[in-house]
Each structure stands twice: as C-alpha cells, then as structure tokens.
Amino acid sequence: MAIEFNNQQIDTDSQGYLLNINDWHKDLACIIAKEENIELTPAHWEVVNFVRDFYITYKTSPAIRALTKALKAEYGEEKANSRYLYRLFPKGPAKQATKIAGLPKPARCI
C-alpha cells in the first residue's frame, strides 16, 4: 500500500500507517488525517506533534494513560483527559494520532 504525495509513493502498511517514520511531513499528515475524516485543528496538531516527539524520544507510542499524564505536564489538566482526546480522535488517540503522526501501528494488544 502507498500514499501519493509530492509525486512520490509513500509506503504504508495495509492499514495506512507509514512504514518509515522519516517519510513523514506536515502536509502528508493532512492527507492521512483526511482519510480518517479528521480536519486538523491546532488542538489536533498539539497532540500529533506531542505523540511524534514522544515516540522519537522513547521509541514507543504512549498508551492513553501515559499520554494523558505526559500531556498534563506539558499543557495542563483540561487537555489531559481521555474524553478530550477521544473528541479529537474519535477512533482512539492511540490509533489515529499515531497514524497521522507517521508512527508505526501500535501493537494490537495495546
């Protein structure tokens, strides 16, 4: 599977996650988000960038509880709850935010 971007074929897995995190680009994120029926607002970007930075630092995508805890330290209480995150990413922040951030598909059992 692949996404067409800047006249290039960007490889993805069968569910649309990028195979190489270095292929990621902000404009590519918008294309992936569109496929997910998400219009990226600044609130989305906060989470997407955060998840991507988290992965690059810790080599793992944060589970929701770790994500809310880490977000709390950065952005405060009101943005650090799963209700807020699910409003932004209805199919689950772990699934959708990581996909838009160009990260690998999280392990199925997580």
């Binding site: 199925r108 059992c109 997580i110």
Partner: protein, 124 residues
C-alpha cells in the same frame, strides 16, 4: 480451593510445555479453579495449527485442545506476541488464519485481568 492463573512461555516442541499442561490438569483434578491459561512469549506457538508432529510423538496442540474442550478453561493468546511469531487471525493474502480452535485471541490486558483475579499465578 484456590483460583489459579497459569502463564505458559515455552513452545510446543519443548517438554517444559508438557509440564505446564500436566500442572493445569492436576489443578482441576485437585479441585482448584483455573481462571485461564495465558500463552505469552514463545508459548503462543502452541496455538499454531500448522505445526506438524510425528504421529509417534506427543501432539501438544491436540492435548491443549482436548484439555480446553473437557475443562472449558480459556486458552488466551497474546496476539502481539503471536503475530511476530507467524500466527495470524487474518485471511488477507498472503496470510492464512492459523490460530487453532480452542484458543482465544487476547492481549496483555487479559494477563492483567487473570493474574489480578487469581489467588495464585504460576509461570511455567
């Protein structure tokens, strides 16, 4: 009577797995409750339907399956550990569903549930 959780981490071609099965059977014979067996690490390969055992050797897959049928004990499989070892519940080419009947596709969350509910957790 105690409630047990059993974690199996060894493959079907390791005799240690027979020990785990013997222990599971004895638990029930001794009147204990086995909440479930959780297959993790190399233990997930016990569910591989494509494993072929010579007919004059113990077939642990069949042994687990008949244990499951007779006792109704859930046999949970950590799907993430399973997928990386060639097991799949997908039929999307080139994959072929090869997780045997009798095993339940689960995640590590099930390990949490089993071990926190059990009075005793045994890793074999």
């Amino acid at each position: 009577m105690s409630r047990y959780a059993l974690i199996v981490s060894t493959p079907p071609f390791d005799n240690k797995t027979q020990t785990a099965l013997d222990f599971a059977k004895q638990l029930l014979q001794s009147g204990h409750q086995l909440l479930g067996v959780f297959f993790y690490q190399d233990g997930v390969t016990n569910a591989n339907a494509f494993v072929q055992t010579p007919s004059d050797e113990t077939n642990l897959l069949h042994a687990w399956q008949s244990f499951q049928q007779q006792s109704d004990t859930p046999l949970h499989l950590c799907i993430s550990a399973a997928e990386r070892r060639g097991l799949t519940d997908s039929n999307e080419a080139p994959l072929v569903h090869n997780i045997s009947e009798g095993f339940t596709i689960s995640g590590l969350g099930e390990l949490v549930v089993l071990t926190s509910k059990a009075d005793k957790t045994v890793q074999l």
